[in-house]
């Protein structure tokens, strides 16, 4: 069975995580999502947006295993993996104070899961004020620094104070939390057959896509060295390519995480990379990919 992609949505109380998840649920990605909620909020996941029995939400509680003797979040992930019909994608809404990395790490340890990114939502109106609260600032900083992508909510223009606060913690690029199209593109795995057969690249004001559909065989060593030096700006990359030693490699790059697995069969070969329009240079990707020639 294919590993189940897992993404974690982090961010402080009231940042807009649930709103964002509701919008993801309503999107036209065609994926069946399961959502684990580890947060309490004023808004609930809108059950009207859950379209089938395999789409659902499960509420969980906070706390580390030594204090709660439970680890119920992880066991809930295990329950989803045991289902006869798995969803296409698992989203975990982290609690307002949780470190999303500690949750997302299970996607790297559990072979039945695949890491599919940490998205941290920043409250565009209150982030600077929250960061000034020394009781919680270290945990908020950790949420931001582990993120593969930052989404800023509640503001459509670049607020000066917010921009300065973000720059102080070395965050220079982010998406608007309302830009569900771009966020979906980064959170959900691209579907190679559909993407590669598109007559022309999809255009979007915020992100760019680069793809190639006639990959040459790689040795594992070549592939690892190539993947270790991806050009800047790639938020997500997926590749299915022939293994020079027989069979295929499947490659997923999400932010800083690179996962290479061997597989025996593959229907569609190709590679696709996605990044922000402001950060990803298509030509650089082209040159990088062809550098092993």
């Amino acid at each position: 069975m294919n590993p189940l992609p897992l993404s974690v949505i982090g961010g402080y109380l009231g940042a807009g995580k649930t709103t964002l998840i509701n919008r993801l649920l309503a999107g036209d990605h065609g994926l069946r999502l399961t959502i684990l909620v580890n947060d309490f909020g004023a808004i609930n996941i809108d059950s009207a947006l859950l379209q089938s029995v395999s789409e659902d939400t499960i509420e969980l509680t906070n706390g580390c295993v030594c204090c709660t003797l439970s680890g119920d979040l992880f066991y809930a992930v295990g329950d989803v993996l045991e289902r006869p019909v798995r969803p296409d994608h698992l989203l975990i809404e982290a609690s307002g104070i949780a470190d999303p990395a500690k949750i997302a790490n299970v996607a790297l340890t559990e072979k039945d899961l695949r890491y599919s990114g940490i998205l941290t939502v920043i409250d565009g109106l209150n982030f600077a004020q929250h960061m000034a609260d020394t009781r919680i600032a270290p945990q908020l900083l950790a949420q931001v620094h582990c993120a593969d992508m930052i989404a800023v909510s509640k503001t459509d223009q670049h607020d000066v104070e917010l921009t300065r606060t973000l720059e102080e913690i070395c965050i220079t690029s982010w998406l608007n939390a309302d830009d569900i199209g771009a966020l979906s593109r980064i959170l959900f795995e691209p579907e190679l057959p559909r993407e590669l057969s598109a007559s022309r690249p999809t255009t979007h004001p915020r992100y760019v896509t680069w793809s190639s559909n006639c990959p040459e065989p790689f040795t594992e060593r070549e592939l690892r060295s190539l993947i270790a030096s991806t050009p800047p700006g790639i938020l997500r990359l997926k590749a299915v390519i022939p293994n020079a030693a027989g069979g295929y490699f499947e490659v997923h790059v999400v932010g800083k995480i690179r996962q290479i697995t061997r597989r025996s069969d593959a229907a569609t070969l190709g590679v696709i990379a996605i990044g922000l329009e402001s950060a990803l240079k298509v030509q650089a990707v082209d040159e990088w990919w062809n550098s092993t020639g």
Binding site: Y12, T61, G63, C64, G78, I97, R135, Q139
Partner: protein, 541 residues
Amino acid sequence: MTDIQVIKARKILTMDRAVPDATHVAIKDGRILAVGDASCAEQWGSFTIDDSLSEAVLLPGFVEGHAHLMAGSIWDHSYVGYHDRTDPQGTFWPGISSTDEVVKRLKGVADHAPDGAPVFGWGFDPIFFSSERLSRKHLDMVSPDRPVAVLFSNFHLMCANSAALELAGYSEDTLAEGVVKGEDGAPTGELQEMAAMFPVLRRINIDFRSLSQSEAALESYAKTAVRAGVTTITDLLSMMQDEDLDQMLSVTGRHEYPLRLVPAIAASGNPAQIAERALNLRGKSTDKLRLGAVKVMTDGSIQGWTARVRWPGYVGGQPNGLWNTAPDEIFAIADELHSRGVQMHIHVNGDEAAEVCLDALEAAARQSPWPAARHVLQHCQMMDRALYRRAAELGVACNVFANHIWYFGDQHAAFTIGLDRARRMDAVRTAIDEGVSCAIHSDAPVTPLGPLFTAWCAVNRQTMSGITLGEAECITVAEALELITLGAARTLKLDSEIGSISPGKRADFAIIGDDPFAVDKTQLKDIPVLGTVFGGQINLI
């Protein structure tokens, strides 16, 4: 025929100042009819005398205000901890003080287990000895082909053998935080934190949830309680689901089930939902299953450096700990639950967490008057006199983690908060002096269930190295006995029904082998527990 039964004992310590000492207690319909001497029941008609306990001493049934249901069922697996322990069946497990002994004990288990069955050890605590770090290689000696895993006592670390690592798919290719690699690039077997432990736990069928929620777990919990003289116990972070309720009602409803269970459900969902659920559960309470309270997590643990502590912080310069619930959330939960009349048990280890929670409870109290709320701060390990005074002013009860002094006191002095603050940790003397309604607890299975041991800790404040840590915070034997009976009952708002041997209360007693006032206070923990009387029914171990 008579339905009045009189139990005769060598001595009965009632915790009721009207009749502090007695030799006979009369019971009718599971409740205490009268207490005094052989004639105490005469005014009530004919009775029969049961003298099977005439050599024993009776105390009110002990009340454990902070424990977890897992304390019983964890014994389904092999104990490999440093301290001597006794399991629910009464089997004695000597403590383990080297890696070799771990291997030897687990090998003994493996040799008798069905083919391929996993072997799971728990409670491992290498902090107390200096042999080689436990690794895959050691556990491969337990068995080269069946999965073997050892969970550390702190629940944050586990070690697995090669077969277990292979089940999870861990290899030199695994690139994940928490899967520790050796110099050869292969996993050493050590797995840090739940994300790394979970893929192994899942494949060897260790589900913490079923350890905390199953018929067998409820039965083991009761056995563990009887051995400790406990007749009322909490499950202080219950993950019970709606479908679990029927099972709990059915098991606790059995006539012979010798325990009153008080679960506090985990605060999950938004505050209004939590309140709704707690109030709904409260309406389903029975005598032996008391529902309706909520547990709120706030910070982590001091020995894990995750407790939120005030300035000057940890002596090693570690960053201040972690909130599991943000201060803003604590305020929101406190406000809603207080206004809806739901009692909260609030986990606070560090003093900053205690302060934030008192702030939140004070704000809630300003919004909605409820003088009898009796919310309880749990653990309270770093609370000082000023914080206890605030708790007393607010009517907030404090259940103090007295066992920590023995188990972790030396570590706290050396590594976490330093000797000065360690001497005022778990400051029961101060809490009592400030007029706080207080209790003391074990947090079983974190430390073993045993109220007499917990009382000994609060009386003697002795650490494992033998020093007295903070003599000024020691309490008397009489005070300690009150804290493990009436004191704990008060934190559960059950002090009108249990906690003393008084006419009208439930006939719940601890049966012990000696008079706690007749032995030296340093021997309090060594008094044997012989069993309990629950609702008039004698349960000897």
